[in-house]
Each structure stands twice: as structure tokens, then as C-alpha cells.
């Protein structure tokens, strides 16, 4: 799982090299990568962040030395950026029609490009379907159904 800073670096690298699926390798100096995470100088933390991105399979490294690196961004990194862009657009209410579907309750759902799972948009804020609310909905439905059956049985026994 990527840390926040590693995610920031991943997204920045995807944007910087204009990464596409099956894209080519690029060469950058460490001094070109440092500003992407707000650093002014190249330090061990930057190299550790880069390594974290690599270990999470977001980039394929071909060459690395003290001055420069040669790497390509993987599909995983590109899809991560697409997911984050989709969520951001959903929050701003700017999602295009094919990316949005409406469920039975009339709630808007935005489809994530990577997994094809969806996030519920509530008051223009994206919200994942809550397991806890589903749990209580199940209990409530069961209780209501049980009460209804009990009422029917009571009526049948006492009135008929």
C-alpha cells in the first residue's frame, strides 16, 4: 500500500512523463524528480520514496545511479491516477455520463476506471457503500418482515 507521499510521487511521475499504457522508458535526473514531492535537494528520503513506488509495482526501473534514473510507469500507476481523477471529478460534479450510473435507490455512482467498482456520490461527495449501514438495513428489514408475519398470524388466529 502506497503512503501519501509515495502516491503523490506516483501521480506526479505519471503526469510528468505523460505516461500511457505500454509507454516508453524515460530518463530523469534526481534533481528533476525532487521538486515533484516539494523537495529542493536530493536526499535519501527521496530515493526511499522512489523505491517504495517501485516496490509497489508502480514503476519498472531499468537503471539507477547517483545522478539519474531510467524507468517506465506501469499500468497500475496510470490506473491509480485515473481513479483519483474520477473521484475528484465526481466530487466536483463533473463526471461524464458513461462513468456514472444510477442505482435502484436513485443514488449516483461513479465507476472507477481500474476496478470497475463504483463509489456512491452523496451530496456531490463520493462515498463508498457502507458495510455498517448495510448491516443495519438488513437487521431492520428482517425485523420489519418478522413483525409483518407476526401481525398476519395474529389476525388469522384471532379474527378468523
Amino acid at each position: 500500500m502506497l503512503s501519501d507521499k509515495a502516491t503523490q510521487l506516483t501521480i506526479a511521475l505519471v503526469e510528468k512523463i505523460d505516461a500511457k499504457v505500454g509507454g516508453a522508458y524515460k530518463i530523469f535526473g534526481w534533481d528533476e524528480i525532487a521538486p515533484l514531492v516539494g523537495k529542493e535537494t536530493v536526499d535519501q528520503e527521496l530515493k526511499d520514496l522512489f523505491e517504495e513506488v517501485r516496490l509497489n509495482s508502480c514503476l519498472t526501473l531499468k537503471y539507477k545511479d547517483d545522478n539519474e534514473v531510467c524507468f517506465a510507469m506501469t499500468d497500475k500507476a496510470i490506473l491509480l491516477k485515473q481513479d483519483l481523477d474520477a473521484m475528484k471529478k465526481a466530487q466536483e460534479g463533473k463526471v461524464e455520463a458513461p462513468m456514472v450510473k444510477v442505482d435502484d435507490q436513485g443514488n449516483s455512482m461513479v465507476v472507477l476506471p481500474s476496478s470497475k467498482n463504483y463509489l456512491q456520490i452523496v451530496d456531490n461527495k463520493s462515498k463508498a457503500p457502507s458495510r455498517i449501514s448495510s448491516f443495519f438495513a438488513g437487521i431492520g428489514g428482517g425485523a420489519l418482515g418478522g413483525a409483518l408475519i407476526y401481525a398476519i398470524i395474529y389476525i388469522v388466529q384471532n379474527l378468523l
Binding site: A24, Y25, K26, I27, K62, Y63, D65, E68, C70
Partner: protein, 120 residues
């Protein structure tokens, strides 16, 4: 079998890569400059030579660019690591041939002298 040009190119790649754990990043210009002037190696020979060596399993190569210059990232394969041994073996074979040739000449001369001495 390597030609003179591919051998010169492989020598240049090997010298750069072996010092860095078998991987190196070289610009096109640096690579051409690493090839001795006595080898007639033109700019147009570079791409086919790289492809030939890559196909023969000497290295994996990725072509990329940076600030308008073409760079190659070479990763030595097994045949690439064996290159220096291959060259040493070829040199040893040439030395043996020379030694045998010289020994043959000397031996022939001695035999001729002996026969001349016996025959009077």
C-alpha cells in the same frame, strides 16, 4: 560469429556495463566515441549492430531519449558476461597458431640441416 564492427561495439558496451553490475546507460554519441578510430564504424552501423548483438543474446537494450539525445540502456545477458572470456579465448587460439607456425618453421629448418649433415 561477431564481425569486427559488432566486436568493437560489444567491447565498448561491455567495458561500460561490467563496471556497473551489468547495466549501463549510454548516449549514442558516447557509444560511438568509445569505438576505436581504427574500426570504420559509422553512425548508420550503430542500430543494426545493436540489434544483431541483442538478437544473439549479448544484452537487452532499451532505447530512450533525454533532452533530444538518444540514450541506450544495456543490460548484459549471459553471453555478454562471457564476452571477455570469448575474446581471451580467441587471443589464446591466435597465439597458439603463431607459436605452432614458428615451431614448424624452426623444426623444418633443423630437419633440413640434419638431413644435409647426414647426406654430407
Amino acid at each position: 560469429m561477431l564481425t569486427k564492427k559488432t566486436k568493437a561495439l560489444m567491447r565498448a558496451v561491455y567495458d561500460k556495463a561490467v563496471a556497473k553490475d551489468g547495466v549501463c546507460l549510454v548516449s549514442q554519441n558516447d557509444l560511438l566515441q568509445s569505438i576505436p578510430y581504427r574500426i570504420e564504424f559509422n553512425h548508420e552501423d550503430l542500430a543494426p549492430s545493436i540489434k544483431a548483438l541483442s538478437n544473439e543474446g549479448y544484452f537487452e537494450v532499451i532505447e530512450t531519449e533525454r533532452k533530444g539525445d538518444i540514450y541506450y540502456c544495456f543490460t548484459l545477458q549471459q553471453a555478454g558476461y562471457d564476452f571477455s572470456r570469448q575474446i581471451a579465448l580467441e587471443k589464446r587460439q591466435i597465439r597458439m597458431k603463431i607459436i605452432l607456425t614458428v615451431a614448424g618453421v624452426i623444426g623444418a629448418f633443423l630437419l633440413r640441416s640434419l638431413i644435409s649433415a647426414i647426406a654430407g
